[in-house]
Symmetry: C2
DNA sequence: GCTTGACCTTGACGCGACGTCAAACTGTTC
DNA sequence: GAACAGTTTGACGTCGCGTCAAGGTCAAGC
């Protein structure tokens, strides 16, 4: 039997057969005088076994070990390990499908809304109000949301929802406008203090409590992002953060 | 923000970030005078989105298209297609696990028993009886079994089971012995005819009915395998096959 | 004899999503 | 000024083959 016949018999390509020789999974048979490989019954059986194991999901390396070790116990262990691995894959896929289903359930689906649906809704309602700072803030919130786990996203969404009510929204946009005015201001501008205070008042207390979120919380990236703003705008946010964490500390005592 | 900070923030490696630049998934940011990449908030948001989509199982190419096309409909379609694909994967894994469970349920598990459990049991009981031809026959049956689908395996196992009963087994081993005696015989040996007849009598009628199994059935590999036997042994099997298919043809009329 | 076509041989590149190493930088700290 | 952590580009490795290249072998048809 030549390689093409063997391959057709078992249902693989000749390339696959030669690859198995290369890996030592299938022993090289004798050669005919013309150099062709000459296969026998036992090679076909071996190849069929290999394909069966591969079809179950074993890697070719695992499979080679299993067929080499030959006897019982390790083989059963290998299959059990494979089963456990497949179970993990099933769970992973199920989790992905669950997230997908949640995404597909929301009406205004877009690449921007790749997060927990309520968080996406809140962020969409929040908008940026046509303000440059509003756009920046929106991106900040988006990033903070996407870097949180699912519970964090749910919590954020819940706490931010009050800010999407018409009155709060108008107040927020007014604050954005005042921040836009600081686009070219220096660090010492006298409008900084009052603006930070008004912003702190506008943010719900519970939301403030989420900001530091633990001792290992890494806020250095926030500081980095402030570099994209004008000095005055950055100062407002720094002041705001200080006030929020103070409030939070008081509440915790 | 430099590449390491960005990567740590979003939870990927710097290699990944550069790879995304290479694929055009993440735009190359401006460079600092020293040649370092300088990232901004919007890059972090984009990267987080990319990771989220990748985490759902989209390929980087699909994901790039989704983020480029930007708007709604195709995006929803892409996600639905992904969901269908994941569903198919789930089914495939479930099928593999089912086969695995069937294998793990059998007591004498070994690499040789990689087939339907009852077929494996029958083949094990059948054995080769220490005969050279018996070993060959065992391999032939093994291959025929492994090349069949699950129903074929079940059918074969059921029909072969009678041959594993003590009396039939002894008869079978006696036949193997007589075939071994033909290992060096020529094609015209006078023992060929009677032996083929005795073998045909030993094989259940229903099993004979499975041999050709359809008009497109490819039996040329059988003929090929006969090349491994002595001319006389091959003749016996050819005669046997002829008798079996005759019997079968009679039954069908 | 010659060509055609089907098969075989070895060898090399390609995929997808990066990991890893190499060699040469910049920039900060002792 | 030496060590170190970070950055740059570039290239190779992964896994299970598919695919192409550049030939050699063999049977059939002209």
């Amino acid at each position: 039997m030549r390689i093409g016949e063997l391959a057709a018999l078992v249902g693989v390509s000749t390339r696959t057969v030669r690859y198995y020789h290369h890996l030592g999974i299938l022993p090289e048979p004798e050669r005919l005088p013309n150099g062709y490989r000459e296969y026998r019954l036992r090679d076909a059986v071996r190849l069929a076994r290999v394909r069966h194991l591969a079809g179950l999901g074993l890697s070719l390396e695992e499979l080679r070990d299993a067929l080499a070790d030959d006897r019982g116990v390790d083989f059963r262990e290998a299959l059990q390990e494979l089963d456990a691995d497949l179970a993990r894959q099933q769970e992973a896929i199920a989790a992905r499908r669950a997230r997908l289903a949640a995404l597909l359930a929301q009406p205004g689906l877009s690449p921007e809304s790749m997060m927990s649906p309520d968080a996406a809704a809140v962020l969409r309602d929040l908008g940026g109000g046509g303000s440059a700072f509003g756009a920046f803030d929106h991106e900040l919130l988006t990033l903070a949301t996407m870097l949180s786990d699912e519970e964090g996203q749910a919590g954020l969404a819940e706490l931010m929802r009050p800010m999407t009510e018409p009155g709060a929204l108008a107040t927020g946009h007014e604050l954005y406008r005042r921040l836009d005015e600081l686009a070219d201001a220096r660090a010492g501008d006298e409008r900084i203090g009052p603006l930070a205070a008004d912003m702190a008042a506008h943010i719900p207390d519970e939301l403030a409590g989420m900001v530091p979120s633990g001792p290992g919380a890494d806020l250095s990236w926030m500081e980095t992002m402030l570099g994209e703003l004008s000095p005055a705008q950055a100062e407002v946010l720094r002041l705001l953060f200080a006030e929020l964490t103070e409030t939070d500390a008081k509440e915790k005592t």
